[in-house]
């Protein structure tokens, strides 16, 4: 890769009451890459996402497109172009599918009280645009989330569809960098295979740069250009799938001795 990385993390450290969840991590993600982050539980993977999206305080440096993200509020990070999903799906369960995707265009739209109160032309145009974009994004997942589903509350969706809707919601913030936290967790093999394909299409068709946390090595092998391994808050490996999966430290810390790599 040449040029400056899209995401440039240097010496990132996160502490919780004296415990270092992340300890001086350096990660560079270039535009158009799909990078997987793996590692044992408690290694700091989700903390890494939380630090990037400003849900926890961190020290060190996180540069996104050359500008620092540290010190911003979570919503400011999102409006810079970083969006995420959550490990334990956190949709707005009582809002409809459509509303879930509409509401996350908040930082890309600007109509305020005035427009709403006086029902201005600009207001109506923007509402229509928001809706159209939402439907376009939902259409990416096939017919599952459109049609009569649009006006159903997210709570009635199946588990796999909730995961898909979460990705759609993140897409609606129009990010450059998409952070997916265990996107296939709890899915059956058929569904996770399908979603694996979708991750590739997210890059090809929408141009997102993607960082994925994943336990399923199958998926990791399938999607990633690069794999980063975290253990106890430090990075122990960084390379393509084959390098990483044969690294003795990774086998020791994460894959386990019995694991076979294909």
């Amino acid at each position: 890769m040449n040029g400056n990385p899209l995401l440039d993390i240097r010496g990132l450290t996160v502490e919780f009451g004296g415990l270092r969840a992340l300890d001086g991590v350096d990660i560079q993600v270039h535009e158009g890459q799909i990078v997987s982050v793996i590692g044992p539980n408690g290694a700091g993977k989700t903390t890494l996402f939380n630090a990037i999206t400003a849900s926890v305080e961190a020290t060190g440096e996180i540069l996104f497109e050359g500008r620092t993200l540290l010190g911003l509020d979570a919503n400011q990070v999102t409006s810079r172009g970083v969006a995420r999903t959550f490990q334990n799906v956190r949709l707005f369960a009582n809002m409809t599918v459509l509303e879930n995707v509409m509401v996350s265009q908040h930082c890309r739209t600007k109509q305020g009280t005035f427009g709403a109160l006086f029902y201005t032309k600009a207001f109506r145009r923007e509402e229509a645009e928001i809706r159209a974009r939402a439907e376009e994004i939902l259409g990416f997942f096939g017919t599952r989330l459109i049609g009569f589903r649009l006006d159903q509350p997210a709570a009635v969706l199946s588990y796999a569809n909730r995961r898909r809707l979460e990705i759609a919601r993140a897409m609606a913030t129009q990010p450059k960098l998409l952070l997916l936290d265990e996107p296939v967790a709890g899915m059956n093999p058929v569904e996770s295979a399908e979603l694996t394909g979708l991750i590739g299409r997210l890059r090809e068709e929408w141009g997102f740069t993607i960082v994925v946390i994943e336990h399923d090595m199958e998926v990791v092998r399938e999607v990633s250009d690069r794999v980063i391994v975290l253990d106890h808050g430090t990075m122990i490996a960084d390379g393509d799938y084959h390098e990483v999966s044969s690294d003795p430290r990774v086998i020791e810390a994460y894959l386990g001795q019995g694991a076979t790599t294909k």
Partner: protein
């Protein structure tokens, strides 16, 4: 955390200004107080409050002692808030009314005892008796409250039990009005040997009594929670009800115990109120209730020692604050602002330290 304080947005800027302002007012007030204590005619003191008079040592001691005794009472009530919050995660707004029920029970019982002539002839025995009766009645009130109103709401969103507790608070308060009448009622006179200022530091006996009783009750509660199996069950239920149930802990019964213990503490506090002020009315529970809640928050809610410390802090602040800070600043009629000072303390502490003085910082996971 330092990072938290670095202003990022307009709101943060405003909050920083507020924080600085709050600290500034307190600092200037205290400085002016010190100045006027050094000499009332001190130019600095005169500059800020032309009518500065200063305090005598006796006045100051009086303020501190009444602050401590009231604070001890707040602390006792705060324990109930804190324990229920720890276990069920909501503010039992009606806890202040349990305290009022205690004070009312004490009033009724002590007057009956007085009619029978026992109050004077055997004061200590009578006092013990009314404490016990009040604890029983308050425990019962708290337990019924839990059973009727909160148990059915265990799984409801958090604001629902909070709103319910406001309703209960209203209901208990007005039950007192319709059953006992809307006028304020008096406790019988305390014996002279208690109310007289003792030679020892010239402190009223009642206040010493209040502080001692509160300390005893607090100690008992601490032993219960930290040293017994019941206490361990309470702490387990506070953390994870489902898993505690899986261990064989009877979750419902443990929660009832928490309410009962909180109620008993409020009952003791109710009697202490009676001893201190000798007068009780249906809204007696409201202000002390809110202040006790503030104490619990200031001390870090869920933390028992913190609640007591918070109580003392709020008690001291509201008794000394007006004269130590506001008066030297030239505010007139400061005694009217006691309650405002207590609330301002609550707001101030939460502004400076959102988790309270002794509270552990809640992790994102706990808050979810």
């Amino acid at each position: 955390m330092a990072n938290n304080w670095a202003p990022k947005t307009k709101v943060d800027w405003f909050l920083t200004v507020l924080r600085v302002l709050a600290l500034g007012v307190v600092t200037v007030g205290l400085l002016a107080f010190i100045a006027q204590q050094i000499s009332v005619d001190n130019p600095f003191a005169r500059l800020i409050n032309p009518d500065a008079t200063g305090l005598t040592v006796a006045q100051f001691r009086g303020l501190v002692i009444s602050g401590l005794s009231q604070g001890a009472m707040y602390g006792l009530i705060a324990l109930g808030y804190s324990m229920v919050y720890g276990v069920l995660g909501f503010i039992n707004f009606a806890h202040g009314e349990v305290f009022m029920v205690g004070a009312m029970t004490g009033m009724i019982t002590s007057n009956k005892l007085d009619d029978a002539g026992l109050w004077e002839s055997n004061f200590i025995g009578s006092l013990l008796f009314i404490v016990v009766v009040s604890m029983l009645v308050c425990t019962l009130t708290a337990v019924i409250m839990e059973r009727v109103a909160y148990r059915p709401l265990r799984k409801a969103p958090r604001l629902i039990p909070l709103i319910t507790s406001i309703g209960i608070s209203f209901f208990i308060q007005n039950t007192s009005v319709v059953l006992l009448g809307p006028t304020s009622k008096a406790y019988p006179d305390m014996p002279d040997w208690l109310t007289a200022k003792r030679t020892f530091l010239e402190i009223e006996g009642t206040k010493i009594l209040v502080i001692c009783v509160a300390a005893l009750a607090m100690l008992g509660l601490w032993l219960l929670v930290e040293r017994t199996k019941t206490g361990k069950a309470m702490r387990a239920v506070a953390e994870d009800q489902e898993i505690a149930g899986l261990m064989g802990v009877n979750v419902n019964r443990t929660i009832v115990k928490v309410f009962a213990v909180g109620g008993a503490m409020a009952g003791v506090a109710g009697i202490l109120w009676g001893v201190l002020f000798r007068s009780v009315i249906h809204y007696t529970g409201f202000l002390p209730g809110i202040k006790a809640f503030s104490s619990a928050v200031v001390g870090g809610i869920g933390n028992l020692g913190g609640s007591m410390a918070g109580g003392l802090f709020i008690g001291l602040a509201e008794s000394t604050g007006p004269l130590l800070i506001l008066e030297p600043l030239g505010v007139s009629g400061v005694s009217q602002l006691r309650d405002a000072v207590a609330f301002a303390m609550l707001i101030g502490v939460l502004l400076l330290k959102p988790s309270g003085l002794f509270g552990e910082r809640l992790s994102a996971e706990d808050r979810a």
